[in-house]
């Protein structure tokens, strides 16, 4: 029992490790899920007249799959060159651009819709510019309410996953391997195909899977940027459950989504077993150098430009719009003020309506940060324990891992309703909903944490632990002295992920929030669901605050390790 390599250790020890993750999943995932599904199908049993509509189900599934595949491919097209860029080259503004690349992931869809509109809408910067340039009368770019808008938003959201995960693996790839291939006569394309690609495949496959899952379960983007002509499974579940009140169909669609998620997770496990992962990684960090040849310079420039256009411009558009008043064109007769203004930000701090639901930005920020910190701690502690449990489970891990991915594929609406049902009934009805929010967020973050920690854990050579044991270290000591330092980096990556996911989470929070303690996304949504220029401006200002909080949070976590050391 005193060594950590799991060969011995006893059954009860392994079971003990599984206790906490199993309890967490049972209470916060399986329980709500079964509650809502049972309700859904019982309604069919008694109600009758509510049809399963298999045609609709099949069609929705087909569309969901199609747009997810397309989105993932496009994300790879943008993300892979960007991953290469960040892991190989040093250039002006690199750190800034990398930080920006993470931000879209956490933005609530409402905010994204507004930013896209301000950039690409019928009277956004792009159209206005083109119309002025070419003297057109009609806006030439009609991007919104279409499939391209959905795809674009997905790429916007998820490029950061590819950049982070694949970029991280790429930067740790032993450069000597590619150099050896070069010396053996391989041209750059052959080097990539023969050496880099197979060694990157586990990381790339894992990242693509995550992106695919996020695109597959996409809700807000499809609803708001695609418009009513498009419906993924998630949107359909929402409509059927909450509007058309056809709960059995919603339940069926949820099951389809879950089953498919399981399938994808299982498939991924087969593909990405890192058999030779350890050997391919070098202990030293890759040296970043400035681009030298003309080809390299062009590549750097083009990739950075694309990233700026795709990621930075919408954010910039949002931020500038929150600082600029454009009211002169709306024909009021009073003194028109255009140009730079801090009015919206000031309004945020003023309680003009006296409404009980007015929340000072500081409170919303505090709520969000606290929930995020709690979710981060829960997700990481649980993730660490779960990773160890999986590590010690040997071959069984292959069956258990997909089960852990399930929460990512569960419909937020279904789960949210399930939460409400379970936690308002005995024996749980004493639990305050505020406490539930971090657990709900942790549920979404947990698969990501495990996905990052487990490979790192498997990469720790047993010889290190054995050496420590022979020097007299008990298991706790071994963990602290051997495992923890080696896991520190991936742990920090996970903490950033969990923190940012929680900050931008909107689905579960909106179900579980009580009126007076909203998170930032909920607060933003409140402003934008009312007419009025000030309300709109305040929504934008609040969104900018969210951006800043998230950026600061990410920076703080990264800097907590050795300052100046890069973190992927």
């Amino acid at each position: 029992m005193s060594n950590m390599n799991g060969k011995r250790g006893g059954l009860w020890w392994k079971l003990l490790l599984w206790l906490l993750p199993a309890a967490f999943l049972l209470i916060f995932f399986y329980q709500p899920l079964t509650a809502i599904l049972r309700l859904a199908f019982s309604m069919r049993a008694e109600g009758g007249g509510q049809s399963f509509l298999p045609g609709l189900a099949a069609k929705t599934f087909a569309f969901t799959l199609w747009q997810a595949v397309l989105s993932t491919l496009l994300t790879l097209v943008i993300g892979l060159p960007a991953a290469y860029l960040f892991s190989h080259y040093e250039f002006a503004g690199r750190k800034f651009l990398r930080l920006i690349a993470l931000l879209p992931f956490i933005l609530p869809t409402v905010v994204v819709a507004v930013s896209f509109n301000s950039l690409l809408g019928p009277r956004g910067w792009l159209n206005v510019g083109l119309m002025a340039l070419f003297g057109l009368s009609e806006p030439p770019v009609r991007l919104l309410n279409s499939l391209p808008a959905i795809l674009l938003a997905h790429v916007f959201y998820n490029s950061s996953i590819i950049i982070r995960i694949v970029g991280g693996a790429w930067s740790r790839l032993d450069q000597k391997l590619t150099q050896a291939a070069q010396m053996l006569g391989a041209n750059p394309w052959q080097v990539f195909w023969e050496v880099t690609f197979p060694l990157l495949l586990p990381a790339a496959a894992g990242a693509s899977l995550l992106v695919f899952l996020f695109d597959f379960t996409s809700f807000g983007v499809v609803l708001m940027l695609g418009g009513p002509a498009f419906a993924t499974l998630e949107v359909e579940i929402y409509t059927q459950a909450l509007y058309l009140f056809n709960l059995p169909l919603a339940g069926l669609l949820s099951l389809i989504q879950l089953a498919f998620t399981l399938l994808v997770a299982w498939a991924h496990n087969r593909v990405s077993l890192p058999r030779y992962g350890k050997a391919a990684l070098s202990a030293e960090k890759a040296n970043l150098r400035p681009p030298r040849t003309k080809k390299e310079k062009v590549f750097t420039f083009v990739t950075a430009a694309v990233l700026i256009a795709l990621l930075l411009l919408p954010l910039l558009s949002l931020v500038t719009r929150s600082l600029v008043s454009l009211e002169a064109e709306r024909g009021e007769r009073g003194e028109a003020q255009t140009g730079f203004t801090l009015r919206y930000y000031r309004e945020l701090f003023r309680d003009t309506t006296g409404s009980i639901f007015y929340v000072p930005p500081a409170v919303a920020v505090r709520n969000s940060v606290l929930y995020a910190a709690a979710a981060m701690l829960i997700a990481n502690m649980l993730g660490l324990i779960t990773s160890y449990a999986l590590h010690f489970s040997g071959r069984l891990a292959r069956w258990l891992e997909p089960v852990l991915i399930l929460p990512l594929g569960a419909s937020a609406v279904t789960l949210g309703l399930g939460f409400v049902i379970v936690f308002r009934r005995a024996p749980w009805d004493g639990v305050s909903f505020s406490i539930l929010i971090p657990f709900a967020h942790a549920l979404v973050a947990l698969p990501l944490v495990v996905r990052t920690l487990l490979p790192a854990l498997r990469g720790i050579p047993d010889s290190l632990r054995q050496a420590a044991s022979t020097l007299g270290a008990g298991w706790a000591r071994v963990f602290r002295e051997v495992d923890l330092p080696l896991l520190l980096r991936p742990l920090l990556v996970c903490m950033v992920f969990a923190f940012t996911i929680s900050l931008g989470e909107f689905g579960a929070s909106s179900f579980l929030s009580t009126g007076r303690n909203p998170t930032i996304p909920v607060a933003i949504y409140r402003y934008i669901s009312q007419p009025g220029a000030l309300n709109y401006g305040q929504a934008l200002a609040m969104s900018t605050i969210l951006l800043v909080v998230c950026a600061l949070g990410s920076l703080a976590i990264e800097k907590a390790r050795l300052p100046g050391e890069e973190l992927f």
């Binding site: 150099q179 070069q182 010396m183 006569g185 030298r292």
Partner: protein, 349 residues
Amino acid sequence: MLEIREIYKNYEGRPLLQGISFAVQAGETVCLLGESGSGKSTLLRIIAGLEAAESGSIWWDGEEISDMPAHKRGFGLMFQDYALFPHRTVEQNVAFGLRMLGLPRAEVEARTRAALGIIRMEDFAKRAVTELSGGEQQRVALARALAPNPRLLMLDEPLGALDHALRVQLIAELRSILHASAKPAIYVTHDREEAFGLADTLMLLHQGRIVQAGTTAQLFRQPANAWAAGFLGLGTLLSGSVVGLEPLRVKTALGVLQASACGQEWQVGGAAQLLLRPRDALVLHGMPEGENQFSACVVDCLFMGETYQSHLRANDFSFSIQTDRALAPGSDVTIAFPPERVSCLKGEL
């Protein structure tokens, strides 16, 4: 065949290589010997085309190839930690270069088999490289580098990770393989034993420059300066200052010793280092009386198989000698170094 001209290279803003020039002929094994961090691996990478120098040029058969990309140069490189492709078997690793040449499948297979035969690892063909021991990996890396018949072979400290016995064995194997293939080869190491075992031409790299180049025997007999002598482990160095010319006399901690000028210009008062080779020491009876004689105390005496190695101390100066007979530890002996055997060298350690 290979010619390097005036290579300059900086590392983190400071000069690393300062004007390296040399040539390698067909069938010649050149050994580049230098301390860790002296830039030997960097030089190799520059020759390979994996790194660019600040200035200088590289020539092959009279044609400049400084700007040619690495994968077109046709040079083989064997890495310090082998850099075998972990996702390929032994066979696939060795066949890699042949495949990149675009050879037909049958020829690739035949030459792969032949390469495996040279390193005597035919049975390992289908094994994963991650399962091999250090020595086995090194042999596979060698086979992989040789299989595509490169016109120049470069080896970057390939024996570093192996134990002594294996190293000795592999040095011998390498020498026979290299001579059999008659290719020009550059071997880079910090270990003199390897260098002595393999080199046709030995080059010493120190502080960014080639301090000395020649056959092993030449370097052995006439090191260029004190550093070279120290690095090659030729003996103990005793510092002093010149007090007389014709014959050359140097004042040291052991008294005034007469030394051989080694063909260099000396001036009275100049700093000098005297090389005392262990083999050249004479143990005399009686008290010191003539030139280059002094008494020393025996610290210990070890039996080395054929000879005895003793550590002596005289006036706070420690040195070693090699004798055919044992010396009693703790006793005082009279030691003499014949003047013509004492080399007087310039430079600091």
